[in-house]
Point group: C4
Chain length 196, copies 4
């Protein structure tokens, strides 16, 4: 039950985050196609962030399959993740409005990097709870996640993307997009292990 | 359970989409009826989009009745549908603000057309999952949906409406409204077959 | 289950309606108390609408206790109710912004009147479904609701309030407030009959 | 079941409150870091309010563990709490926009103080319902909460913070932050007593 309510609250926040970003898309100033395309970079930023939030929802969903109990540490680790994801509509709006300028690209990467860090902390706090509950014997999630290479590659990509955006913003975009592609492939380790 | 969370997330997104459209309705500039009626076309666009989102919620609800399991493909097909529906407040705002000008009418139709395509993909991905799970034997949803003539008629109406809006926007509106009427009639095939 | 999803969607829409109204409250132009009080009528309108939406959520909650099945008619009657409630943030914003001018007061009453009509239709459509399902024998909700005098008094109050606002807006406000008071008292008929 | 729907509605409102605050963060006027930092106080206010709402969600979650039934009084006590929490995005926006000026700091404290009062009323109304239901014998929640010193310390901190903001706003901020720290520590009394 505790887990259900955590899922419900997370679903609520992610549903709102993914949906209110549309409020940042401005009504085109005229009524022709060229008016519509003026905000082209905003649409691209919207699509990207929609995909990222979708990935987080999807992974969170898979993650919760390996969770039986939720303690205070897990609740707050989850809230911490929601915090960084709730920031995404703001960093997305700046990225789109600036047509992909350098600093907004860096900030966008930072918001994604910190969300990824928060996700890693959430995974670790669940594993810690499972080990403590079983007297250090066993964590179902740790068996499933293994060494979590995908998570660490993502963090490295974000860090590199943030740094390389100062050289050329297109390198940043390419590295951020790489993370999206990595995660769009559903985490088959979890699904397979749980026979989901 | 997986299905429950998919429903919950979809309900959340659709509830937000249907509700935030009201934020696009401007407070009338004065305090008389003629000030209120200045935004008449926005109210019409709001009502139309409310009905469309309501139809999608209703159909999604019926659709999920024929679903037992959800795999990664279904999750992403559903996310894809939510993407196009999340765009509707934006295309609605432009349609209303332009008082039904040609390009906004076309774009509105495109957003509905792509949502309808996404719905078709979702239905197909569920059928594919059901066939794979039963070793190609049986798909409960395919039995229920049959040849889905209603879905294909809708797609044809949207496509025609988009094209004919270039001739006369009223033809576009009429064809879009036709789809709404087709779907307002609940999908009795599904309800009947499931004894719902 | 069908009923659960109807409740979940309704809860989602009402939660959003009740919460986004705060986005219509403008940040005061300065940093003193008199700046804060400039928007006084908006705060009053916000409080009133919060109470109305809270009443609808509360009554809907009690209503659903007497419901076992939901058919297409009930789904759409519910959607119709949600439509008029989704309009409330808009009519509230105009009422508050106009400091309670005549036409915005009338429109506010109309939006509440139509929501009340929609609620009555929802109750009737549930009763009709229950009678049909039991071969005309019995409707649990009809036994509970009785002649629904409270509902009809509300409709009369709204209608009178709309008309009398043309004489003096304060008569309209008083009559609208009367309805709120009537409904703030929880519907003891339903609670008692269900032993809730 | 009644309890479930109360939780669901509360989760919905809190998820929206915590998320729409991001809409109050303005897109920076230029594309450099100094443009980003112009809104620094707004980010701080956002973080603080996110934590407060997170604390309320967390505590509400623990509170509901000790609840079996919900009556009309509890429903309205909960709605009253949601009202004050729904105001927080507004008082947060003013606090941030004013860069922590005196009156906005006082109003922010008042909104938190009234939410804390409402939470206390909610706890009492649940205890009252439990005592009445058991013929005055026993309230599971009262056994768990004890004398609720943490709640009363919070109320005292808010009241002191509101008063001392007139002397120096930094005293107000320090006292508000103290409450956040007190509550960030999860309510171990409840968790322990319920073996949660």
């Amino acid at each position: 039950m505790t887990r259900n309510r955590l899922e419900a609250f997370t679903d609520g926040v992610l549903a709102i985050v993914i949906t209110i970003m549309v409020l940042e898309l401005p009504t085109p100033p005229g009524h022709e196609w060229h008016d519509f395309w003026l905000a082209g970079p905003k649409y691209v930023a919207y699509i990207l962030s929609f995909i990222y939030i979708g990935i987080y929802w999807n992974n969170h969903h898979h993650l919760m399959h390996a969770v039986e109990r939720v303690d205070g540490g897990v609740l707050w680790a989850n809230m911490h993740l929601l915090f960084w994801l709730s920031i995404v509509p703001f960093t997305t709006a700046w990225l789109g409005e600036s047509h992909g300028a350098k600093v907004p690209t860096v900030l966008y990467g930072i918001s994604l990097f910190l969300a990824a860090i928060a996700y890693t902390i959430l995974v670790q706090s669940i594993i810690r709870e499972q080990l403590r509950h079983s007297g250090g014997q066993r964590s179902r999630l740790r068996d499933v996640v293994g060494n979590d290479s995908k998570g660490y590659v993502s963090l490295a990509c974000y860090a590199a993307g943030i740094g390389l955006s100062y050289v050329d913003v297109r390198l940043g975009w390419a590295l951020y997009a790489t993370v999206a592609i990595i995660w769009l492939v559903p985490d088959r380790r979890v699904t397979r292990a749980l026979g989901d």
